[in-house]
């Protein structure tokens, strides 16, 4: 029995999905089996975001996010830079949102790389050798989940100060436990699989089994949790900037922009639209992709 999830049911997608599909190159289309309209849109959005983050400084006509573009708190107009209006000190909100994407994404990506690599390492060792190491990893993961992430981050940030590097490191610390836990669970479940046994029967060493046999199979589970955890980091980073402990000014950050606009909300509600939209869409897209990956993982596991 292979249950069909309603959301991946091709019958439920509309023509928009086809458009989204058609927009993807053929090779990419092959890689997203069972993706619905929202999944495709989310993937496309994230791809676009990454492109923007990479190439934001060569977007033609885009002004610098640090220098004035117009008068203070102007309403949006139909020019590129004025699309979201100007901020409280006259900078183009669009430009700041786009540069903010670079800041947010790079922080989150670096933090994720950190936590994924450390998490995998710890989780694999813990799952493979069990014993005290496993207990320590569990302790770490439990501790981290016992504390609200923002509290942890704040505590660290008050100690280290708010540099981009520090924030990357601190955010990186947050999810190590989760990744380690996922990796550990994967290792434990694979340890009973016959192919690990087969490798052992061939005389493979522990290191070889971990790297060659187990690690590649952790990838799907890890990539399935990754977008959701990254979305969490985007929110944490945003909250941090919102509370004033984020990326130092004048570098644009979404949370910081939202914080700056809240005081003026009753006078210039439009200020909040750009950054809020950016953060909400990004988190939404990441969550959607995470759901999609998790669901694909599930159906594949059920299918096997």
């Amino acid at each position: 029995m292979r249950p069909v999830d309603a959301h991946s049911n091709p019958a439920s997608s509309t023509s928009l999905a086809d458009i989204a599909r058609a927009a993807m190159p053929a090779t990419a289309r092959l890689r997203f089996p069972g993706a619905g309209m929202f999944d495709m849109l989310a993937i496309a959005f994230l791809a676009l975001l990454v492109l923007v983050a990479l190439f934001v400084d060569i977007i033609p006509g885009l002004v610098s996010p640090k220098f004035p573009y117009g008068d203070f708190s102007q309403l949006p107009d139909l020019t590129l830079n004025g699309l979201f209006g100007t901020d409280e000190i006259g900078r183009s909100i669009l430009s700041r949102v786009l540069y903010g994407a670079r800041a947010s994404l790079s922080i989150v990506l670096v933090a994720t790389c950190l936590s994924v690599s450390v998490g995998i390492l710890l989780g694999m060792l813990a799952g493979y050798y069990r014993g005290p190491l496993e207990r320590m990893v569990d302790l770490y993961a439990n501790t981290m989940s016992a504390l609200p992430s923002i509290l942890v981050v704040l505590a660290f940030v008050t100690a280290t100060g708010t540099s981009v590097l520090a924030i990357m490191l601190i955010l990186g610390i947050l999810d190590i436990g989760t990744y380690a836990r996922v990796a550990k669970a994967g290792v434990i479940s694979q340890n009973n699989r016959d192919y690990v046994l087969a490798a052992r029967a061939m005389g493979a060493s522990d290191a070889r089994i971990m790297i060659r046999e187990i690690l590649p199979n952790l990838v799907p589970a890890l990539t399935a949790v990754m977008p959701t955890l990254m979305a969490g980091l985007i929110i944490t980073e945003g909250s941090l900037s919102f509370l004033g402990y984020g990326i130092p000014a004048p570098a644009p950050s979404w949370g910081g922009m939202i914080a700056a606009s809240t005081d003026l909300l009753s006078r210039f509600p439009v200020l909040i639209v750009g950054p809020t939209g950016a953060i909400v869409l990004t988190v939404y897209a990441l969550n959607t992709v995470g759901d999609y990956l998790a669901q694909r993982l599930n159906s594949r596991e059920r299918g096997n």
Binding site: D194, Y195, L197, A198, R200, A201, M202, R208
Partner: protein, 341 residues
Amino acid sequence: MRPDMPSPAVADQPLISIENLSVQFTRAGKQMRAVQDVSLHVAPGETLGLVGESGSGKTTIGRALLRLLPEANTQWQGSIRYQGTDLAGLSKTDMRRMRGRLQMIFQDPVSSFNPRRKIEDIVAEGLEIQGIERSERKLRMEAALRDVGFSLADVAGRRPHQFSGGQCQRIAIARALAVQPELIVCDEPVASLDVSVQAHIINLLQDIREARRLTMIFISHDLAVVKNVSDKVAVLYMGKVVEVGTGEQVYSRPAHPYTRTLLEAVPVVDASRKIKPAAERMVMPSRNRPPEGCAFRLRCPRAADRCAKEEPVLGVGPGGQSVACHFPHDEPAPNLVSESA
């Protein structure tokens, strides 16, 4: 030919002999004896069939003799001698070298392949680990694949999920063969295959066994399959060998009541008579608290007082086999073996 092949002089000695093997698992703080005091011997070129119901310890024995039991929650006693070498005493490196001679084939062909790796890497893995040179590796892979009816070109660049269960099992056999083992433990190699594919694999194993003069331990709960492939059959019940003998002995004159129960329960493709349903029910003893005396006595139609008091040990049975029963059967097998056909 390998230099360390057994010399003809010792060929009559068992290739592998298991003496008094016991295995305990610790689960949730409780000890569970999965295998108790099992002794088995397999001569070179011989196939030993291991049968028994689920949980009787078949797999555990198979893995124990390849030293593949999980280390964390397992204890074991006894000795496993391979051509006189006690495997338990080998260091990790020596054991690794030994693994070139001992191989295993698993029940689920699909899950015995790492889904992320290419077939040729999987087949070559053992050779790589054994430190075989690249050119030699290729030759051996080709030979092994040819033996199972593939060519290297058939599998190159493809991944396990692109093959069906039967094909996967053939590749799994090739993987084991590539290292040129002397002994292969087959743990229910056909249990998950469709009937139409199963015959293929059985034939294949038989052919290879003959061609390469392999020794095999064949684990299965399907008595018909075991009968077909084995020279010698050991029946396990709750971690103990209750009967062991040649296939002929065990199947035609099963001495242990459990063996008979098993044989009677095998569904046979014989529709000439309508089966008479049995009325009585059996009682399954607990695995964690095995009964005193004979473990089978609760299900045994012949159980007597003695069975509750005294645990039977393996002795010579009526057909010449070994049997652990106080009141072994002497008559030939009941109407199963249908001379009628």
